[in-house]
Amino acid sequence: MEKVLEVDQLTKVFSLGSVLSRVKITATDHVSFYVKPAEIFALAGESGCGKTTAARMILGFEEPTSGTVSYSGRPAARHEKVWLTKGVQAIFQDPFGTFNPLRTVDRYFFETVRNYKLAGSKKEAIGFIDQKLQAVGLSFDEFSGKYPSEFSGGQLQRISISRALLTNPSLLIADEPVSMVDASLRMSIVNLFKKLKEELGVSVLYITHDLATAYYVSDRIAIMFRGNIVEMGPVEQVLMDPQHPYTRLLRESIPEADPTKRWSGVVRLTEMEQEEYLRQGCRFAGRCPHAMDMCKRQVPADVQVDDLLVRCHKYAGN
């Protein structure tokens, strides 16, 4: 099977503190996953779970400590800027930070067209850009000559996606693309990913903390916790029938837009930030209701439960 993106045993270790008291934090710990053609794959987790670090390594902003990233079956060379290639494009969290406020947004489009020699004349370029803008529900006349401040967050994010589409990428890497967009406009962005997948066959690596939109849009999902993928599989299974205790906690904690489904029960949190990264064994053991002795000593291995990949001692040996 062809894989648009394959990430194998990707690890990144950051060192904190001075020479004398050095703390090593493993931001991503042997993370492996792949994205198929025309698939939306969600990488979800809370802040500090390593999802953004993984995205930065995939895009080549950050050098992995170990592990490889292969794009369409070809491993990325050291220091290769994958985001400069035609096939992979990135969309970032803050649409207002993506564009220079003192430059009109159409200049970014013309620049991309020129860099990749996508059109021979200005007229051809305008036609080409207009076609890409139509894909996100905008038109060239609406946007030419305007500055970023003249658009709403939702519009800018769509413009940002449209710019990424100029090179006909096979993979979009979207890091929290809706978290800065107004709740009322969020679905327009998410629906766009669905449309791009269905009509143009674009794959999307959707990195998010919002499990509700992840459920809505993606085909498969990986849940990350403190640097590990703890559960991975079809979104319907992972979110509707979670196996890993952490996924269960996460799923129960999402406030549902239904006043009849209010939370009950008490959640436990850790008080100190670094504690869980430095934990031996399973990093969730401190909060897990099913924690056994083994969990505190030994790092669990990946266990295949039907279609799911679960990293938990509870399922080992079955």
Binding site: S184, H209, L211, Y215, P255, E256, A257, R262, E271, E273
Partner: protein
């Protein structure tokens, strides 16, 4: 029905800015009538830039330039009918009618409060937890010193000496570990800091706690813990919580009643159940229908168009450029609130002719 504790009458609060010698007016709160009752959680929802935060500032009597109170009133009921609180307030000169109402009903317009009276009411009558409140803690002092400072500036006499004991007891009562008092803010996680701030706001048992997006930018598990704390405070002290958040999931989880705000106006208000199950205003309907739900992958549509500008809000009903049911009158005139039932009111030309009570 429990009594009103805080209400507004046609409240208008605008930002008056001076941009290159030209006056620019941002109509952030434009004619809001609220009636918030004792012992309830009142949620205010709406997209960013609709004036939610400004409304809260007005409610907390924290109006500072460039924000100005242009019209209308914010009225506190500081004591229940007849009896005045233990510490009478120092008031500015007010008309006899106002004074009579204060003495009999305990209601007072915040315009007549002196700075000293406002300070005294703050934290004891009304507490305000601002947005991003996890960064309000002093980074170079331990939390117990922050608590001590706080108690010393708001409490006098005997209780002052027991400040630390009081804080410790309070923290334990709310189920937070008491060792956090010895920690510096940076040693705590964001969620713990947020909860410490909320606990601090509740320390003097205020009758109203106003929270501005207290769960935004927190992870879901942490968010749940913060909501849990808010609910616990509300149940324990039987006070009122005014909760602003754009996250409808959180609203569904805690609020008793929800007001939907759009372009500086409350366009619909009802019990949480009604807002989610039977919304009337087209904007509310879009807002509710666009929410993704688990177990249902059917297509969701966003509200069409873009959020309005508060500098030049659209004429008439501000939602008309995005509304699928727009009529001629919507462009010309803002509809009044119509009561659909005792707890459900909506400002839309689709019900009645905009006269109060019609359609009910």
């Amino acid at each position: 029905m429990s009594q009103t504790i805080l209400r507004t009458e046609q409240l208008k609060a605008f930002y008056v800015l001076d941009v290159h010698g030209r006056q620019k007016v941002v109509k952030a709160v434009d004619g809001v009538d609220l009636d918030i009752r004792e012992n309830e959680v009142y949620g205010i929802a709406g997209e960013s830039g609709c004036g939610k935060t400004t409304l809260l500032k007005a409610l907390a009597a924290a109006i500072e330039p460039p924000l100005r109170l242009i019209g209308g009133k914010v009225i506190y009921r500081v004591s229940s009918g007849g009896e005045i609180g233990a510490e009478p307030l120092s008031l500015l000169a007010m008309p006899d009618a106002e004074m009579d109402r204060y003495l009999t009903e305990g209601e007072i317009d915040i315009a007549y409060l002196s700075a000293e009276a406002k300070r005294r009411l703050r934290w004891r009558y009304i507490s305000y937890v601002p947005q991003g409140s996890m960064s309000v803690l002093n980074p170079v002092t331990r939390l117990k010193d922050t608590y001590r400072d706080f108690v010393e500036s708001h409490v006098s006499g005997k209780t002052r000496r027991n400040a630390f004991e009081l804080a410790k007891e309070h923290i334990a009562e709310l189920g937070l570990p008491s060792k956090i008092l010895d920690a510096y803010p940076h040693q705590l996680s964001g969620g713990m800091r947020q909860r410490v701030t909320i606990a601090l706001a509740a320390l003097l048992r205020p009758r109203i706690i106003i929270g501005d997006e207290p769960t935004t930018a927190l992870d879901v598990v942490v968010q749940r813990a913060v909501v849990q704390l808010l609910k616990e405070i509300q149940q324990k002290f039987e006070n009122t919580i005014v909760l602003v958040t754009h996250d409808m999931g959180v609203q569904a989880n805690v609020a008793d009643r929800v007001g939907i705000m759009y372009a500086g106006k409350i366009v619909e208000e009802a019990t949480t159940e009604t807002i989610f199950d039977d919304p009337f205003h087209p904007y509310t309907q879009y807002l509710i229908n666009s929410l993704p739900r688990f177990g249902d992958k059917s297509t969701r549509e966003s509200v069409p168009g873009s959020p309005p500008s508060l500098v030049n809000p659209p004429s008439g009903c501000p939602f008309h450029p995005r509304c699928p049911h727009v009529m001629e009158i919507c462009v010309e005139q803002m509809p009044e609130h119509t009561g659909l039932d005792a707890n459900h009111r909506v400002a839309c030309w689709l019900v009645g002719e905009g006269e109060n009570g019609k359609g009910s």
